[in-house]
């Protein structure tokens, strides 16, 4: 006997009973990026074109460093999931698998590289 109401067992599930996690994760990261991106554009835009000393001073500041770290983690997760969604729409079979693995790997490589640079600058 099932103690859950039909409403409760259906809530949060799509027609496939799974898959809403992807959409929800995109929503959460998108909401965060709405605030992070404009701030980061301002920080990065100011640093771009300046001398190395100014760039290092800029990204060594706690606020700029934290925003950049968040952009790298949240942004690359958002990109990885969005790129996966695109690949799943246009490719199938082995090509799809290879491209999805490639896109997610690229995202983490970019995030790791950026974080490494940031740690070297800020710490």
């Amino acid at each position: 006997m099932q103690y859950l109401t039909p409403r409760k067992s259906a809530e949060g599930n799509g027609s496939a009973h799974t898959g809403t996690e992807h959409h929800w994760a995109m929503t959460v990261t998108a909401a965060g990026l709405c605030f992070l991106v404009p701030i980061w554009l301002y920080i990065f835009g100011h640093a771009l074109g300046q001398s190395r000393e100014v760039v290092l001073t800029t990204f060594a500041q706690p606020f700029a460093a934290i925003v950049t770290a968040l952009i790298l983690i949240v942004g690359m997760r958002h990109f990885a999931m969005g790129a996966t969604m695109m690949i799943e729409d246009y490719a199938r079979g082995t090509t799809r698998k290879v491209l999805v693995i490639g896109a997610i790997s690229l995202s983490w490589v970019i995030a790791a590289t950026g974080l490494f640079a940031l740690i070297r600058i800020a710490l």
Partner: protein, 131 residues
């Protein structure tokens, strides 16, 4: 009956039959969301490489900064800047649609224009602000 079923699929036009499909603002602004979101990775890669170079050495930074501030860098960063603003506005539109609002055609078209105009305006403002 079985023969008819076998012959039919090949001759059916593919939906939405792109060759004769009139481009609509809502459709174009929708696909632009995907193109800008995925395309912005080029700008991100250049930015992260530039940051890595800054963290490494004066010589490496000179190389990366040379590329980042060249006409090529300007092109990539200006394009990425517009792309990220467009994607942000389209994302907000997505939130509005997710909430079940703005689905009627006049409002949806207005939201499409808001994404296009908003992204261009914010690109110009950002460039002026950080110069």
């Amino acid at each position: 009956m079985a023969d008819a079923k076998r012959a039919a699929p090949n001759q059916r036009p593919l939906s939405p039959h792109l060759q004769i499909y009139r481009p609509q603002l809502t459709a174009i602004t929708s696909i632009l969301t995907r193109i800008t979101g995925n395309g912005v990775i080029v700008g991100v890669m250049l930015a992260v490489w530039w940051l890595l170079a800054a963290a490494t050495s004066d010589e490496y930074f000179a190389v990366a900064n040379g590329v980042a501030t060249s006409w090529f860098g300007d092109l990539v960063f200006t394009g990425s800047l517009w792309a990220i603003w467009y994607h942000l506005f389209a994302g907000i539109r997505h939130f509005i649609f997710d909430a079940g609002r703005g689905m009627d055609i006049p409002t949806a078209e207005k939201l499409g224009w808001a994404c296009i105009i908003g992204s261009v305006v914010m690109t110009v403002i950002t460039i002026l602000l950080v110069q």
